[in-house]
């Protein structure tokens, strides 16, 4: 339940910083994804992430936070959407201390409720953005916006309630995974990564493969952007993981160091797999290993030791590097490997807790290797399975409905020409002297005139 009082400035400072860090992850993701697609789709790829910030940001304030963190309305399945609609009851009060009387505002734990809302908003945004990696190059923009809004509402907000809403923190009664099953998912291995990965799989199955995939090679057009994305993601992820302590304390400290070292280990093991399998360690591999490590340590950073974190990272990096072959084996076009990196990586991290958890870590739980038996392992498995299944089915239904209601895919022509030109009437780069040297495109109409016949791109 939301108490009122005066916040701890140190914890609040860290959570404000963490919220900003997690927000930056979505632009970071836009570059990680945008660099991997071909140059004719870079803008659309980035727009899917950016637009998630718009759509989910607004919904979160209107009712999303309440669905996730409002008081449970039954069986730990979902919060009360009306409870804090428009953030009612989460702001106001005496903001500033005055002669003796301390500030007194709504708090969640030791921080202002609004800060907790903002921090959690960023999680909702990036989870939706992650899904877009599965549908590169071929999904119309309008259906994407609708999918983002509906999937967030029907799948993400409830699942966040299951996993992140602990009894008595933001509301008296929270979600079933956190409070009844007692699975450990510190920062979102299930709610964020398995969730997004399963949804991406469903969406790309409904959408179908890209023209020419897999025969035709679709080479990344800008690998430095991928590395920029990986760098920004790693940076922002400290807010994601260490911020999930909701305090600047020892829990944040171990989450931070574990996030650092697991990611380092995952990068190395992905590169090792490439060296052995492909003969060359690649920059895309290093960047992918970074993300795989970050994904796997997300649920587990509060329950393993730093050496355990090295193990988590090394295993995740290797497993995900091998998992990229699944889509070729099963012939589904998960264009940017959301399944291999986020679904598989999330599973690895969530399940390894059952083996590697040590009571010296904040979660204070013993895994199989530390004499804890399978008690924690099965809880982890159930949580992972439940989220996976619910998200996959939910996304599948939403995608099918949209497919038949408004259609999901761009035409073949526009896949050939490039979705940027046909969906957004733009091109990512204009470096040719044919244009920059002179005026070889005319302004046919400027913003001061009214509606124009939109007739972009019939190159096909």
């Amino acid at each position: 339940m939301v108490d009122t009082g005066s916040p701890n400035t140190g914890n609040t400072a860290w959570m404000l910083a963490s919220s900003a860090l997690v927000l930056l992850m979505t632009p970071g993701l836009a570059f990680f994804y945008g660099g991997v697609v071909r140059s004719k789709s870079v803008l659309n790829m980035m727009m899917m992430s950016l637009s998630a910030m718009g759509v989910v940001g607004v919904l979160w304030v209107l009712y999303g936070y309440s669905l996730a963190f409002g008081n449970d309305i039954g069986f730990g399945l979902v919060g009360n959407p009306a409870e804090h609609a428009g953030l009612e009851g989460l702001f106001g009060g005496t903001y500033l201390a005055s002669e003796g009387a301390p500030a007194s505002i709504p708090l969640v734990g030791t921080i202002p409720a609004t800060v907790y809302v903002a921090f959690q908003a960023m999680f909702a945004i990036i989870t939706v953005a992650l899904v877009s990696g599965a549908v590169a190059d071929r999904m119309r923009f309008a259906p994407w916006l609708v999918f983002a809004a509906v999937w967030a509402t029907v799948v993400y907000f409830p699942v966040a309630h299951w996993v992140f809403s602990f009894n008595g923190v933001s509301a008296p009664i929270g979600g079933w995974i956190a409070n009844d099953l007692k699975a450990i998912d510190f920062a979102g291995g299930t709610a964020v990564h398995i969730n997004a990965g399963a949804a991406g799989l469903a969406l790309c199955l409904v959408l179908g493969r890209r023209r020419g995939w897999p025969r035709e090679a679709m080479r990344p057009h800008n690998l430095p952007f991928v590395m920029l994305g990986a760098g920004l993601l790693w940076f922002g992820w400290f807010g994601f993981n260490a911020g999930s302590a909701v305090a600047a304390d020892g829990v944040a400290g171990i989450a931070f160091i574990n996030t650092t070292v697991a990611t380092a280990a995952a990068m190395l093991s992905w590169l090792l797999v490439e060296r052995v399998r492909d003969g060359r360690p690649t920059s895309l591999g290093a960047a992918s290993g970074v993300v795989a490590g970050l994904v796997a340590i997300t649920p587990s950073c509060s329950s393993v030791s730093p050496v355990g974190a090295i193990a988590v990272g090394a295993i995740a990096g290797g497993v995900c590097a091998l998992a990229v072959s699944i889509k070729f084996r099963c012939r589904f076009d998960d264009s940017l490997d959301v399944v291999a990196v986020h679904l598989i990586g999330g599973l690895v991290g969530t399940l390894l807790i059952g083996f590697l958890a040590t009571s010296a870590a904040p979660a204070g739980v013993k895994g199989l290797f530390y004499g804890g038996g399978v008690n924690q392992l099965w809880r982890q498995a159930v949580a992972a399975g439940a989220v996976l299944a619910y998200s996959f089915v939910g996304a599948l239904i939403i995608a099918l409905l949209l497919k038949y209601a408004i259609g999901l895919r761009v035409g073949d022509d526009s896949e050939l020409t490039g979705i940027d030109e046909t969906e957004h009437a733009e091109v990512g780069y204009e470096l040719s002297t044919i244009y920059t040297g002179s005026g070889n495109s005319r302004v046919t109409q400027d913003a001061s005139s009214g509606k124009i016949p939109a007739q972009a791109g019939q190159e096909g």
Binding site: L416, T417, E421, A425, E426, V427, S432, I434, Y435, N440, S441, R442, V443, T444, Q445, D446, A447, I452, A454, Q455, A456, G457, Q458, E459, G460
Partner: protein
């Protein structure tokens, strides 16, 4: 010796290439060009200003062939590059007086 120059739509390159390989053409040179013609360009919008881009991205394929190969080559090119839509492009032939393979200095047909 003839130099066959074809202006084609970018996405037809792979078919053009294999069609030429089929009839025994061993090499070709490809470059990016911008074409202007009947096919209209596209429209871009930046902050409400609509820009009309008249040029269309095309590829230029150059093949030097022996005279007897010429007709086969033209047919192969035209077949494989055709989509039937406006903007499919042009093919033109110019005479070549000498061809030399840099590596060996061989001239004429042997140089191909």
């Amino acid at each position: 010796m003839k130099l066959v120059t074809a202006i084609i739509k970018p996405f037809t390159l792979e078919e053009v290439k294999s069609a030429l390989e089929q009839i025994g053409v061993l090499g070709m040179t490809v470059s990016e060009v911008q074409g202007f013609g009947r096919q209209k360009g596209h429209t871009e919008v930046y902050r409400g200003a609509e820009y009309s881009v008249d040029f269309v991205p095309k590829l230029r394929v150059e093949v030097v062939v022996d005279d007897m190969q010429l007709d086969k080559t033209l047919d192969a090119l035209v077949e494989s590059a055709r989509t039937g839509k406006i903007g499919d492009g042009k093919v033109w032939v110019t005479p070549v007086e000498t061809v030399i393979r840099v590596r060996t200095g061989e001239r004429g047909a042997d140089a191909l």
